[in-house]
């Protein structure tokens, strides 16, 4: 095998992700062409706002899936942090910052608890997170028994609009020349991609991050190679909690409220799994990335945008979503067709 140039090699090694990227681009351009006010900042800002929470939850789900497991509590952690944020993100700027920090800390700590239970309690991730998910929902209901809350209005406006509005809100020079090229970018996208890149990319390049891939790919070989297996497992669930908390925080800022809705939490968990699969992450572990899941979440959301402009009955939405999910996972079935030794199917 000879060394091939970077783009070809990248394409070969990231087929699922590349496919998802192409798909979302095509879908979104077509959507804008069909939209009466397509390619406008207003549409982009509105869409961006709808994407952030699910994208974060999908990124949160990615880590346990890379290990070859599943986290059924991501939706609940997002809901819990959403409710916490709706209580604490207000007041003086310093209080607001502290509130945001507290929210993220709560989600991260909850994720870490998941990891500790899975590693040291030796309980299967699925069951452990099913139970901790109930705990998270209970805590969310305790924090916020009824929907509502109080989130700083300026923050809401600044973070859910374009960069221009952000600068304008905080009395900065929004018309500065250097800002012009960026003025129309929606802040939610900066928040989303900013955290994704600042957190995920370094993590992916740490030994702990690489160990997560190694565990999902070949746990025995990872052990033989002397990798820190327990640490990586705990880190995976912890980082999952952090991403879910980012989603909860943003949802609180966006809606200016918290809502401990069990149905909604369940729907987020379900959609996160769909997004992870669509983003090219293997359910058997070891292959994929949080950025892929982010793109997977974009696909799910863009599909739902079509319901609006094509005035398709929104009642059909769950049906289409379900079919998309089933189609996506059925691609995994090709693996079984390639297996030549049937005993390999059982491992």
């Amino acid at each position: 095998m000879t060394a091939s140039s970077f783009p070809t090699r990248w394409l070969r090694q990231n087929r699922g992700f590349a496919g998802a990227l192409v798909l979302v681009t095509l879908l979104y351009i077509t959507y804008n062409m069909m939209h009466p006010r397509g390619f406008s900042t207003a549409v982009l800002v509105q869409n961006a706002n709808e994407v952030v929470a699910i994208a974060f939850v999908a990124m949160a789900q990615t880590l346990p899936v890379l290990l070859g497991g599943l986290d059924l509590s991501v939706g609940a952690i997002m809901t819990l942090t959403n409710c916490i944020a709706s209580e604490v993100v207000n007041g003086t700027p310093l209080q607001i910052l502290f509130g945001m920090f507290l929210t993220l800390l709560a989600g991260t700590a909850f994720g870490m608890m998941n990891g500790l239970i899975v590693v040291y309690g030796r309980i299967q991730p699925i069951i452990a997170t099913l139970a901790t998910g109930a705990v998270a929902m209970g805590l969310a209901l305790w924090v916020r028994p009824k929907p509502g809350g109080d989130v700083d209005e300026d923050l809401n406006w600044a973070l859910t609009n374009s960069v221009w509005d952000f600068f304008d809100t905080y009395g900065l020079n929004a018309d500065a020349v250097w800002l012009r090229p960026f003025a129309d970018i929606p802040v939610p996208l900066i928040f989303l991609f900013g955290i994704a890149i600042l957190v995920w990319v370094p993590f992916r390049r740490s030994v702990t991050g690489r160990t997560i891939y190694a565990i999902g790919s070949a746990e025995g070989a990872a052990y033989m190679s002397g990798l820190p297996i327990n640490r990586a497992r705990i880190a995976a669930f912890t980082l999952g909690g952090f991403f879910a908390a980012c989603g909860g925080l943003y949802l609180a800022i966006q809606t200016s409220s918290g809502n401990a809705d069990i149905q909604q939490a369940g729907a987020y968990t379900l959609n996160s799994i769909a997004a992870v699969v669509l983003g090219g992450t293997s359910l058997f572990g070891g292959v994929g990335s949080a950025i892929g899941s982010l793109v997977g979440a974009l696909i799910l959301r863009v599909i739902s945008f079509y319901f609006r402009i094509l005035s398709i009955d929104p009642l059909l939405q769950p049906l289409i979503e379900g079919l998309v999910l089933l189609t996506a996972v059925s691609f995994g079935a090709f693996r079984t067709l390639r297996v030549r030794n049937k005993l390999d199917l059982f491992r």
Partner: protein, 316 residues
Amino acid sequence: MLNRISAENKPIVISAMFIVVILMAGTAYTVSTAGTAPLLSPNYLLQQLQTGAFLGICAAGMMMVILLGNIDLSIPWTLAAAAMMATAVGGSLAVPTALAVGLAVGLVNGIGVAYLRIPSMIFTLGVDTVLRGLMVAHTGGFAPQDAATPLMLFLAKEDILGIPAAIFVWAAVSLVIFGILTRTGFGRALYATGSREGAAFLSGIRTRLVIVGAFVMSGLCASLAGVLLTGYSAKAYQGMGNAFLLPAIAAVVLGGTHILGGRGRYVGTLIGVILIVLLNSVLSIMQMPEAGRQIIYGAVIIGMLLVYGRNARVTS
């Protein structure tokens, strides 16, 4: 004392003891606040078992799948779809229609898991969403107007010899499942496949058919629970099955069935269901808010599993 109980029976014994604790705690509460002990009256307990029947039947089906190390997340909408289709068809065909829906969903799930080898967690989740979409589209998003048939009403609400009919249905399902698990080749093959599919396959067991069979049973149980619940509420409605999924899994796991398959007794699942039903009713007598219930739920599952988990470490 616990040391002398076999590993398989330990969860059952601990769960049974926990039931006694729940009853005592609840009674202590009611005696101290109201001076009565409703929890210990047969009528109250029968009433609890009547509502417990829906969960019990779902859990029985779920257990078949969990014994294989799989899971069936499509139970909520299998239940709802069966109920809605049954009331839509109505008449004497209502109940057979419901069971046909359960059978069909079980077949789809089984084929996806056994032949396509898609993880059951994901596949049944997808099937659940599709069913939800179909039902929402079918009803146009409104509550269905069709009412439960007399047979459904009878099964869910009437008494036979002073005992609710629903309990007889649950008992019948339990007998059938118990018989299948202990007395048929299929039942033994189910355990063998869940214990080690490779070894079962090399023994000439048709493991894929076993998997399909288990999912079909799960679908049938969910649809039967849908029939009863429709009778109980006098109609089918959106999301009627949502409250059963997690408690069903919890009941099976608390009863000592191993989540990775191969181990577990049906008696344990029965005890697990009763535990959850009584836990719920004591919490509601105590007027525990939803928040506290969720936390206690989660804590009970984790706590009990940590107790059994320590068991597993020694043997492995």
